[in-house]
């Protein structure tokens, strides 16, 4: 009898192994592995995080009151709030009243208006790097958010704050709603639960945080309380700083999505039938800043116009970026309300030379050209981009002497209004045209207009009016005037709007990344 036992055991072992293999297969199909450089992750607390990498993690773990529909960022749609009304206060301010729908936190507790109040007040009390969005941009204080009943929450905004801007801003992770009861249980040393939230989540989004192994991976698992279970049950963000490492790992199938392909590698991926090369939007702008203060090299707008005509945007995008950018010449990029995609300055060397002559600079001029180390938007080395700009400007008699520094040092100089010509990038702090209009056009905002010493009454007036206008049509009209005015008079020569290259394996369906960096993991599925 004993002799027959062995084959049985072998068979059973084989069956178990194949069963295990089947499980492994379906586990693979339900797991999405994303390789990227996540080294900017320092916190997973939605009320504090203000870096790029946490955006998709937090947007998938915490519901906000409102959200953008997928990659369309021109209007908001319901998230935790099913509807909202905008009203006004006697002193000229406004209110937004949100009506919550039924939702459950991953902890099992229902989402209530009190949780919203606590989450928003907490942001202001912690006063982290993103809190200025609430306190400065929205003029909110502790007490501005009130629970009218369990399912109704009211936000009171002071005079001069535009509720449309606040709605757009609430789509950002700062508006994440957390389970107040849960987080309060994990407060240590008065930290509002910040420490605990780095290794746990307490939101009502489709996923919850399983673990964050610093320097190694962030793991999200599906929230068992979420009403509509997604096809991907586990999302793993693996730290992979090197683009070569990402390329090797996606070719072998060890990762499904790669975030940091170089333009060259992206070009190759476009030819590879096993991969999908996706160009995703950004709100970033790569630009030249020209010091326009009295006595500065670019004080005369004709010289600034000459630079704008002399920069060959087309060849920068095609040759240097390998197509990973789109032309732009105004201060509001494509994708945002009020975007202006007009070409005000077609490449025209003769016209540029004429403008230099009109400005009395036909003998040429020499400026210091400050550029950062590393890669600029679209993955092109900043040094290469600067060399191209340098050769374009040389054609109209401007000698740009390149000085390359770390970006931290560059911004130190730039902030002191001490840069003559600078190569830099800008992204709005929140996805609303005012996120660009005010810093780039209003000198008093002490941001880009200020750094380039461009103190212009029209720019300031238009930006301020558009910021407070609550009539969408009027706002759009004001931004049309402003973008045209700054394009033709401002201190910038825009170079391009980078697109963000993402590569997935051909098996991944439904991957889309918004210009804000958000990715809806529930929309993704993986073929076997």
């Amino acid at each position: 009898m004993a002799r027959f036992r062995i084959p049985w055991m072998v068979l059973m072992a084989l069956a178990a192994a194949s069963l295990g293999f089947g499980f492994a297969q379906s586990a693979r199909q339900q797991t999405l592995v994303i390789g990227g450089d996540w080294t900017d992750l320092i916190t997973l607390d939605p009320g504090v995080a203000y870096e790029f990498s946490p955006v998709p993690i937090l947007d998938n773990t915490y519901q906000r009151l409102v959200q953008f529909p997928g990659t369309d960022l021109s209007h908001v749609v319901p998230d935790a709030a099913q509807s909202w009304d905008i009203g006004s206060t006697p002193d000229g301010g406004s209110t937004i009243t949100f009506h919550l729908e039924d939702a459950t936190f991953s902890t099992g507790r229902p989402v209530t208006a009190q949780d919203v109040v606590w989450s928003f007040d907490r942001v202001i009390q912690i006063n982290g790097p993103s809190a200025f969005l609430f306190t400065d941009v929205a003029g909110m204080k502790v007490g501005s958010t009130k629970a009218l009943d369990d399912k109704t929450v009211q936000l009171t905004l002071p005079k001069g704050v535009n509720p449309q801007i606040v709605l757009n801003m609430l789509t950002f992770n700062i508006g994440g709603i957390m389970d107040a009861t849960e987080v309060k249980q994990h407060v240590q040393d008065n930290d509002y639960g910040q420490k605990w939230l780095n290794d746990h989540s307490a939101g009502s989004g489709p996923y919850m945080l399983d673990r964050w192994d610093r320097g190694s991976q962030v793991v999200l698992v599906v929230n068992p309380e979420y009403s509509n279970p997604p096809s991907i049950k586990r999302v793993i963000l693996r730290y992979m700083q090197e683009s070569n490492a990402q390329r090797a790992a996606i070719t072998s199938g060890e990762i499904d999505v790669a975030y940091n392909f170089t333009p060259d590698a992206f070009k190759q991926a476009q030819q590879d039938s096993d991969l999908k090369a996706i160009k995703t939007d950004t709100f970033q702008m790569t630009y030249l800043g020209m010091n326009s203060g009295p006595g500065a090299p670019f004080a005369d707008n004709r010289v600034r116009d000459a630079v704008r005509y002399a920069v060959d945007q087309g060849s920068i995008i095609d040759e240097l970026l390998g197509g990973l950018g789109r032309p732009m010449q105004t201060i509001i990029p494509a994708g945002l309300m009020g975007a202006d995609t007009t070409t005000y300055f077609p490449y025209d060397i003769e016209k540029a030379k004429q403008l230099m002559a009109d400005a009395g600079k036909s003998g040429g001029m020499s400026v210091e050209f400050l550029i950062p180390t590393g890669a600029c938007g679209g993955g092109v080395p900043c040094a290469d981009l600067a060399a191209k700009v340098q050769s374009d400007l040389a054609k109209i008699g401007i000698t740009a002497n390149i000085k390359q520094t770390t970006s931290a040092q560059l911004y130190t100089i730039y902030r002191q209004q001490a840069a003559e010509l600078v190569l830099a990038a800008w992204s709005p702090d929140y996805p609303d045209p005012n996120g660009n209009a005010s810093p780039l056009a209003d000198y008093n905002a002490k941001s880009l207009a200020w750094r380039n010493v461009w103190n212009d009454a029209t720019g300031t007036k238009l930006a301020t009016e558009a910021a407070v206008s609550t009539d969408p049509a009027q706002r759009k009209d004001l931004y049309a005037q402003l973008t045209k005015y700054v394009a033709q008079n401002g201190p910038f020569a825009m170079l391009y709007q980078p697109v963000y290259p993402i590569v997935t394996t051909a098996k991944v369906d439904g991957f889309a990344r918004s210009a804000q960096g958000d990715v809806d993991y529930t929309a993704i599925s993986k073929q076997p």
Binding site: T39, D213, G215, S216, R238, Q241
Partner: protein
Amino acid sequence: MLAFLLRRLGYLIFVVWGVGFAAFFISHVVPTDPAAAALGSNARPAQIEAYRQKHGLDLPAYQQYVRYMVDLFKGDLGNSLRTQRPILSDLRDFFPATLELTLGAMLFAVLFGVPTGVIAALYQDRPMDLVVRSLALMGGATPVYWLAILALELFHSRLGWLPGPGELSPYLFEPHRVTGMMVVDAAIAGDWAAFGSAVRHLVLPAVVLGAFSTALLARMVRSAMLEVLSQDYVRTARAKGVSGRVVVFKHALRNAALPVLTVMGSLLGSLLTGAVLTETIFSWPGIGSYATSSAIGLDFPAVMGVTLVAGLAYSLINLLVDVLYAVFDPRITYA
């Protein structure tokens, strides 16, 4: 011996102080602003000022130094500007992975470097010796960066023999953290699937990191062996009829071990601190990766923490080598 140890440990304080002072000095002459780096390009002047005040960056350099040293003597390396966490807990998180990688690389270097060096010495100037010497030259001259990318492309992407970047397959669950070294923790947990995956993940980065050390070790062993093999006592042993194996391993190798030991000590130190590139390419969550992102983010307290720990590790390893000297060579005593 005890007096020697105490004296050396006493010196250690000065070494660490020196390293700390140098790191502090360098980080403060660099003409850049950590606040600007931490807050990004959009930050307004008021935000930057507040940040500098909060972290004491607005104080004169000597005051910052005194503050730092006082904390250091209390065993507090300060908080990272970037992660906002105590640097000690950051290092606790990242150091074990580096230690694991370094030990893997050292193991590879010893397993391959020592025998090849012995073989090369025994077959001096014959084809075998030539092969070993050429390989050693190549190993010593190949940049780690290039070797890492090449190895990843060939053995992972093309041939599929070994897994890619990271410590563990993403489809496996990490074992409970005990030592922080994935291979050890998987073994402790008895999770053999994770253990296998962790070992396989360790192979490529360890070999890449260890390549230079292997080459250097092979050359050192070869020349030390050649010197010893020509000594009178080896000839005598051979004349007495002692078997070839005993002559090589007992008489020659043990005596050749002394110079090799010195090299191994400094190699271990340089592996610990030199893993920056390897860790970055292989996405290894060690202090090399931590140091890179800290340096890019101008996180000076973190960079100084890594520097201090590296200096300490280097000194301790050197001390260990000196102690081992006495073990290997009875003529050496310390007082």
